[in-house]
Symmetry: C2
Subunit: 340 residues, 2 copies
DNA sequence: CAATTGATGACAACCGATTGCCAAATGTTG
DNA sequence: CAACATTTGGCAATCGGTTGTCATCAATTG
C-alpha cells in the first residue's frame, strides 16, 4: 500500500496506466472495453493500476474516436411547465441507468430554437427526444434522417413516438360532463402549432357530435396559468357551463380568474384540465383532470431511443407507444347549474 | 449558385473547407477563430465555403484539443421540486446567452450521487453550479480545487456562492406571526444535511429569544409535500398556533393534511412557507411565504462562474452574492385563535 | 516433434479540431 | 535595388481514446 500524493495532478489517462503496467495504450483500452481480448492476468494488473490512479475515461476523447457521445438530448418547450418535471425525471433516470448523459434543452416554445438545438445536438448527442415538437412534419422527418429521434406527443409517420392518449381521455371527460347534465361545453385550445391540441379537439368534436351536444372551440391560449384569465373570460362570455382546457396550467389559471370574478366552481362553471400536474390536487377547488403516467412516458421514450441506437438481435423495436390516460375526478366539476 | 445534394452526407469538417479553398486545415481554423491572423481575402473565401457546406464545428474535437468543453454542469437535488424550475431556467438562459451548454443533473438528494456526478463533470464540463449541496465543507473545497464551482444556498469559505437570504426573511415571518398575536410557534425543519435549514433555524431561534417568544424545532422532514402530513401532525401535537416550514412543499403538504383533519387554516393554525414556488399562490388557502428572485439567482450564479472561467482584466469577480428575500403575505396566516 | 490454430498484445492510423514554430510572400524603408 | 520588418499560411504535434492489422508466442493436434 504505497502512499500516493493525490488531488492536485491532472486526471490519469490510459497512457499513464500503460506506462505503469509496461504495456501499450491500446492494450489498456482493450482491457477496459473488451476484456475478452486480453489475458486475464494483464487485465487484472491493468484494472488494479486504473483503480490506483483513480482513472476515469475522458468522454470527449471517447466520443471523438468512437463516434458516439454517450449523451442524449431532451428538448422541452418550457422547463418551468410542471408537466415536464416528471417527464424529465423519467428520461433522466432511464438514461442514467443505461449509462447515458442527459442534455436538457429548453426550446422556449420556439420552432427556430428547436431546429437550431437539434442541429447542434446532432454532433454532441447520439439521439434526441423531442417533446411536443413545434416543427413541421417535413422538418422532423428530415431531422430524423440525420440522427435518431423519438418524439413525445407528436405523431409523424416514420418517426418513433410515444403518444399520451389524451384524445380518448377527452371523450371520457366529455361523457363525465354530459352525465352531470352539461350540454353547452367549450374547449380551451392550446397553441395552434400543438398537434396534441388539434388531436384533442378532433376527438372532442367527433364525440360531441356522436352524443348530440354542442362543443365550441375557444382560443388559442398559451399553455401558462396567465392565459387562464383570458380563457376564463372567454368561457364566461360564450355562455357555456363547462369547459375542457388544453392543459392544467390554463385550467388552474381559469380557476383563479373565475374566483376573482365571483363565479363559483363547480356550482356555476365546471372545469376540466389535462395532465394532472403538480398542483392539480391542491388548487382550489382541486382540479378534475386527465392523468397519465408521465414519468413512464419518459422512460419508454428512452428505451425506444436506445433500441434504435443499439439494435439488438432480439425483436424489432416498437416504433410507436401509446400511454393510457384516465379521468381523475376532483372538485372542479359538478352538476350543471339550474336554468335561469 | 450551384446545385448541392444535401442532407445525407456527414457533417462538413475544416478539412472539407480547406480542400475546397485550397488552403491548409490550420488556416481554416485560424480564419474562423482568429480572423486577424488571416488575410481578409482568404478569410472571406473560407467563410463563404463554410457557409456553403453548412459547417458547424465539432464540439467534441474542439473540447479535446482546446481543453474547454463549453459546457457547465448544474446539480440539483430534485428536478421535480418546483423551486428548481426557475433556477434552472435562469441558469439555462444565461448560459445559452454566453454560448455555453447546460448539463443538468439530478442528484436525488444523495451526497454520493452528488460526488460522483462532480467527478464525472470534471472532465466534461468547464465548471459546475451546485445547488443546496449535501457535501461536507471539506469535500466541496476539494472539488472546487479541481474545477471551478459556484454554490447556491451553500456558503463555504473559499467557494464562490449565491446565497438567498432566507434567514432574514425568516425573522420577518416571525415578526409577522408575533404581530398577529402568536407566541407558540414551531419551525418544521428540513433535512439535517441542509445548511439552509440550519441557518434559518439559527436566525429564527435568535430572533425568537430577542422577541421573547417560544419557537420549537420539529422534524427533520423531507422537502416533499408527502412529508407535510407528518409535519402537520407534529405541529398539532406540539400545541403551537403557527408554524414556519422549511419550504413550500412541506407547507403545502401541511395545508392538505390540516384540511383532512378538519383544522382550519388560518383560523386554528397559521402556516408560513418558504420559496414562493409554483402553486403557492393557488393552493387553499394561498400560502404566506418567503419569496426571492430565484431565476435571477440562477443568472447570477452563471455570471460568477463565467467570471471565474474567463478572468477579465476588469474588476475582480465577487465571490459571494446575497439575494434579497421578502415575506409575501397571503391567506395561510391569521390572528392567533382565541384562548380555550 | 513439426505444423496448425488461437490467444495475445504492439503498432499505427484516425476522429476533428488547436496551436507553436517556421518558411514564404509581401510590404516598407534607406 | 538591397536589406529588413511584417504578414500570412503551412507543417506537424497534440488532446485521449478506438480499432484494424499483424507479429509473436503458446497450446493443441496429427
Amino acid at each position: 500500500m504505497a502512499m500516493q500524493a493525490a488531488g492536485t495532478e491532472r486526471p490519469a489517462t490510459i497512457h499513464d496506466i500503460a506506462a505503469m503496467c509496461g504495456v501499450a495504450a491500446s492494450t489498456v483500452s482493450r482491457a477496459l472495453s473488451t476484456p475478452d481480448r486480453v489475458n486475464v492476468r494483464t487485465r487484472v494488473r491493468i484494472e488494479a493500476a486504473a483503480a490506483e490512479l483513480n482513472y476515469t475515461p475522458n468522454s470527449q476523447a471517447k466520443a471523438l474516436s468512437s463516434g458516439r457521445t454517450g449523451a442524449v438530448g431532451v428538448l422541452v418547450p418550457d422547463i418551468t411547465n410542471p408537466f415536464y418535471f416528471d417527464l424529465i425525471r423519467g428520461t433522466q433516470l432511464q438514461l442514467k441507468a443505461a449509462g447515458y448523459t442527459q442534455l436538457l434543452v429548453d426550446t422556449e416554445e420556439s420552432d427556430e430554437v428547436e431546429a437550431s438545438s437539434m442541429e447542434q445536438l446532432r454532433k454532441s448527442a447520439d439521439g434526441i427526444i423531442v417533446t411536443a415538437s413545434r416543427l413541421s412534419d417535413e422538418a422532423l422527418l428530415a431531422a430524423a434522417a440525420k440522427i435518431p429521434i423519438v418524439t413525445i406527443n407528436r405523431d409523424v409517420a416514420g418517426v418513433p413516438a410515444v403518444v399520451i392518449d389524451t384524445p380518448s381521455a377527452t371523450s371520457q371527460a366529455l361523457d363525465h360532463l354530459i352525465s352531470l347534465g352539461h350540454t353547452r361545453i367549450a374547449y380551451m385550445a392550446g397553441p395552434l402549432t400543438s398537434q396534441s391540441s388539434t388531436l384533442r379537439w378532433n376527438a372532442l368534436a367527433a364525440a360531441a357530435e356522436d352524443r348530440g351536444v354542442e362543443v365550441r372551440r375557444l382560443g388559442p391560449f398559451a399553455p401558462k396559468t396567465q392565459s387562464g384569465a383570458a380563457a376564463a373570460d372567454a368561457a364566461v362570455h360564450s355562455g357555456v357551463t363547462a369547459c375542457i382546457a388544453f392543459n392544467d396550467l390554463i385550467a388552474i389559471g381559469m380557476l383563479q380568474r373565475l374566483r376573482e370574478r365571483g363565479i363559483r366552481v363547480p356550482e356555476d362553471m365546471s372545469v376540466v384540465g389535462c395532465d394532472d400536474i403538480f398542483g392539480a390536487d391542491f388548487c382550489n377547488p382541486p382540479l378534475t383532470t386527465m392523468a397519465s403516467p408521465i414519468e413512464q412516458a419518459g422512460r419508454v421514450s428512452v428505451s425506444m431511443l436506445l433500441a434504435q441506437l443499439n439494435p439488438l438481435a432480439g425483436g424489432g423495436s416498437r416504433s410507436r407507444s401509446l400511454m393510457p390516460t384516465h379521468l381523475t375526478v376532483r372538485g372542479s366539476t359538478g352538476p350543471v347549474p339550474a336554468g335561469p
